[in-house]
Symmetry: none
Subunit: 191 residues, 4 copies
DNA sequence: AATGAATGAGATTTCATTCAT
DNA sequence: CATGAATGAAATCTCATTCAT
């Protein structure tokens, strides 16, 4: 038997790619740098991904999936919609604070022109459970009616912007600021 | 007056750079492509901008300025804050619909790692009048207190997301959708 | 006006590629070496040919055409078929002696798996006038009947082999050897 | 007797290398592909051959030897030279038809620049018995005088070309075509 | 001996920039 | 000023070879 394909190595590569996007912006994401950051030979990247494009697409799907996992965590289920929503919102906010590289990776590449249609479609389809959750609340007259995509972008958009402001050291992640941000989202969508 | 060389050609180049970002994403923005789209020789770009970085930074500042002009248009002044806000919001929304390439150019490059600190600082400073407008409303107890950057990102973030959804053909720019989007922003920030 | 695309430079590149095939065998034909041999920057090759494969295909077609020109030279026309054939044969032999790199280039790449079907088809189609010449002689009962491709390969095959032996210093291009080679071809095809 | 490791595996590898040359040309003969075609791991190739070059040189010598065996088969001995020659010619033609990958492997690599001088010398030396056979016939005034290399290339050259035409589906291996080919060779060399 | 993941030198190709015209 | 062919540093990617298992 040869060395088995190392799950750990794949994770190293993925992590490295995300971290580099956070550090240097993704315009300069170079395969050589990813390899160095992952402490792996350049050629090794191509054992796991046939092209740079494939790496980005695959990684995008993986991270997007992880994000959706965070959102639809069963632990969020609560008696009231407000409570569930709040838990979801906070989970996601905390996730973005903990792994800004992941949030930025998805944000940056979504409109970069580097993702395949297949990947974009995947990203939309995987969000279905989240959309369902929104629709139910709409049916129960708990939040505003209207296209779920608009409702959802009203929630995630400001979170991303706020995280970016924090990363840019323009604002601090104080309780006040986080609460303001949440409160605005809630007021935006509530009936 | 050989200073501004050929204003028309400069505009062609700027337009081309924006349009290409809209068409193919900004990750692969190539000088050769900008030249072709602008119907100009590659070398000509360097008559107007010394480097690609200069082109992007300069164009970013120009477009960002144009956007601020749209926001702080004196025509928006009205008796009530709500009225003024609504006019601003609509102006900006319509601007983004009319020139999505400009909105996306600014959006895409803002966190790309390709802009100089100087440009980033400029972008923040030029927004001062808008922040002032928000602060006044806060002082007059018309909208929520808190960091103006958070308030502002709550307004622009959803607009950008909604425009992107429209461009991606995920939703239609119907009166209902536009009104929903505005209403959510208003509910988000109002006291 | 910029520099005009330099016909001379294209010829330099083509010559260089042929020469390198002769010198180092074509398995090791490297773009960097072609550039160096042509006294041109590596990137310049890509001004003229989009890929290495394109360079090889294009060059192959050009050299093959040149060879056909040598074969169907109007000056060869003579009263007797024997005379015309002898002139053709000698022209081709001398061409191969003068430009062994061209002969070898065509020989080597023809069965290399690097040429596109289109190029292979071109190579066959361009030989039509030569086949016509053979067919006429067959109709006039001057040479053996049978598939022209077989007749033709009986003529060119030995020439190529002989040239290779000369290049490998195994035999000398003496009058005796050349005459023997021609005489065998003639005896092979004559009625 | 761990000398020859696994004879079967070695044959698989050799066959694979030949077959790939036939299928895809020799320019792109890759060790990984040879391994896959031989249904063996890449590393295994290096158990049998220290380098790619060694594989090619060794295989070349082996196949060339096999070819010479075919040519100097004692069964060909007959009363008349013509009969012997005809048997040799047919044996070789049939061998090439049965194992075109072997013929092409030798053909392709002979002038590829990838073989060592030692291998080239071996290839020439092993042909000595064949050259002797030709020389005897010359001494007996049965065939034309002249350098045996030229005589020999007049025989093998057309066979190779004809086989290639058959493989390329340009002609069919009919009795007529084969007979024409042989007849031309005979007329070429006979006194 | 056999495996195939990992390597890294070196190949092809790209693209911002220069410069002769 | 304008051009676009030419450049070459740097990027992506390949592949013969190694080596841990």
């Amino acid at each position: 038997m040869a060395r088995i394909k190392d799950q750990h190595k794949l994770e190293q590569i993925n992590k490295a790619a995300c971290v580099l996007v956070l550090k240097t912006g993704f315009a300069g994401l170079k395969m050589a740098d990813v390899a160095k950051e992952a402490d792996v030979a350049a050629g090794t990247l191509y054992v796991y991904y046939p092209t740079k494009e494939a790496l980005i697409n695959s990684l995008f799907k993986e991270v997007k999936s992880e994000i959706v996992q965070v959102l639809i965590n069963p632990k969020h289920h609560s008696l009231s919609f407000y409570n569930t929503f709040q838990k979801m919102w906070l989970s996601y906010f905390n996730f973005c604070m903990k792994f800004p590289e992941k949030m930025l990776f998805v944000e940056h590449f979504f409109h970069s022109g580097l993702l395949s249609k297949q990947t974009i479609d995947f990203a939309h389809s995987i969000m279905e459970p989240v959309f369902e959750f929104i629709k139910q609340a709409q049916n129960n007259e708990l939040i505003k009616k209207g296209d779920v995509l608009i409702i959802q972008s009203q929630i995630s958009g400001p979170i991303h912007e706020t995280i970016k402001l924090i990363l840019a050291n323009k604002i601090k992640p104080t309780k006040t600021n986080i609460h303001l941000c949440f409160e605005m989202s809630w007021q935006a969508i509530r009936k």
